[in-house]
């Protein structure tokens, strides 16, 4: 989990760690199930050391992180603002797959179409899982929107695989 995500979840108001976890769970739905409970607290401790968050108050003088209310420091606020403004987008590694097909065909290591078929099976399994998760979400849930993003990306990848299939089929016919 990226530190900035935890930081940004805290921007709304000073919060307990469990409140941050609840916000993440709502936003991620079934995708958040894999999140480790301790992750948020580990991240909060790191952020505290980096002077991006501070403990506003503790329930008693116990040193347990689950009893502390965390708040952004001025540095933390600035970091969140920068992160929100940043342009970043995860990239699927298409070049690697593309080069795998080229290398396999050139050296006769494997049939590129077999590689395409194998990849398609895997993507379809993921698409199935994402779609089922999306259909199980209540209307207008935040998590459903994220799942739709996954579905659309997988569809795009599958369309590209179709293009790969067509190209490699016609190459084979041509040779």
């Amino acid at each position: 989990m990226q530190q900035e995500v935890v930081l940004a979840m805290l921007a709304k108001e000073p919060s307990y760690g469990y409140q941050l976890r609840a916000r993440l769970r709502d936003a991620l739905g079934p995708l958040g199930d894999t999140m480790n409970a301790g992750q948020v607290y580990v991240t909060l401790t790191r952020l505290e050391k980096a002077d991006l968050v501070a403990v506003e108050r503790s329930a008693d003088d116990a040193d347990r992180s689950d009893r502390k209310v965390y708040a952004l420091t001025p540095n933390g606020q600035q970091r969140v603002a920068e992160w929100i403004a940043e342009v970043s987008w995860p990239r699927p590694d298409l070049a690697e797959f593309h080069l795998k097909l080229i290398a396999a065909a050139a050296a006769g290591l494997a049939d590129p179409l077999t590689i395409v078929d194998t990849q398609r099976r895997e993507l379809l399994r993921r698409l199935r899982a994402a779609q089922r998760a999306a259909m199980a979400e209540p209307d207008r849930s935040d998590a459903a929107l994220l799942l739709e993003g996954i579905v659309l990306r997988l569809q795009a990848d599958l369309r590209w695989l179709e293009a790969c299939e067509q190209r490699w089929t016609s190459r084979r016919r041509g040779s």
């Binding site: 989990m1 990226q2 991620l28 079934p30 995708l31 958040g32 199930d33 894999t34 999140m35 995860p90 179409l113 078929d117 398609r120 099976r121 993507l123 379809l124 399994r125 993921r126 698409l127 199935r128 899982a129 994402a130 779609q131 089922r132 998760a133 999306a134 259909m135 994220l146 799942l147 993003g149 996954i150 579905v151 990306r153 997988l154 569809q155 599958l158 369309r159 179709e162 299939e165 067509q166 089929t169």
Partner: protein, 248 residues
């Protein structure tokens, strides 16, 4: 599926369909073997022109093969006479097409009940069944609308209700989401999911990955033949985390 022969709803052996001759010979379907078990949802995927629509037509008795066999519930249908075949199509198979193929001058409920009437049900039974089906596809309040007053997604749901009206052994769908936007596609997916849960046997040919992904089994078709087959059941959401950067 090695022991599928005795439980197959739909079975094909060495199925072929050719058009033209000599230089212009097209092998649209070129030696297909297929077993569809009861309650199974199977998707056949492939680029346009791979022969998947022709295959579906052969499976449903809409077209005759150039060679090979098709059996529905253990009964050969490729060599049936035209009249018997037509009756079989009306009662045992439900078709869903990309372009809906509804009768434009009939209301939604009339479209649905027509196929029950043609199959010999009484008008009362046909009407009751049609009402029930429109309720199932979420269109009870649109029963008296003409197709032209319905959205694409609604029209396709009427067409699905029609396909179900004679409790067919198998529903054959040809590119059912091809004309639909994303939200309407999701409605059709949900509907197919419910059909699947109710035990309906379903074969879908499509190049829409979303609909293929709802199947138990996905078959890839190229140049008239099956080239790959995979079981899609058993996916987990855990792996999905990696796709959105939540896991490594």
């Amino acid at each position: 599926m090695s022991n599928a022969a005795d439980v197959s709803v739909l079975r094909a052996r060495g199925l072929r369909k050719q058009y033209g001759k000599g230089e212009g010979l097209v092998r649209a379907v070129d030696g297909v073997d297929l077993d569809i078990g009861a309650g199974e949802t199977v998707a056949v995927m492939g680029p346009s022109g791979c022969g998947k629509s022709t295959l579906l037509h052969l499976l449903g008795g809409l077209d005759r093969p150039s060679g090979g066999e098709v059996s529905l519930h253990g009964r050969r249908i490729d060599d049936l006479g035209e009249k018997v075949l037509a009756r079989m199509r009306r009662t045992a198979v439900g078709f869903v097409f990309q372009a809906f193929h509804l009768m434009e001058e009939l209301t939604a409920i009339e479209n649905v009940e027509l196929s029950a009437l043609l199959a010999g049900r009484s008008p009362r039974a046909a009407r009751r069944r049609a009402e029930e089906l429109l309720e199932q596809v979420g269109l009870a309040d649109r029963a008296r609308f003409l197709p032209s007053a319905l959205s694409g997604g609604q029209r396709q749901r009427v067409a699905i209700a029609r396909a179900l009206s004679n409790e067919p052994l198998v529903v054959l769908a040809d590119e059912p989401t091809g004309n639909l936007d994303s939200a309407a596609t999701l409605d059709v997916l949900r509907l197919f999911e419910r059909l699947h849960e109710s035990g309906q046997t379903l074969v879908v040919v499509t190049h829409d990955a979303r609909i293929a992904a709802t199947a138990d089994r996905m078959i890839s078709m190229r140049d008239g033949a099956f080239v790959d087959e995979t079981r899609l059941t058993g996916g987990t959401t855990g792996r999905l985390g990696a796709l959105v950067g939540l896991e490594d």
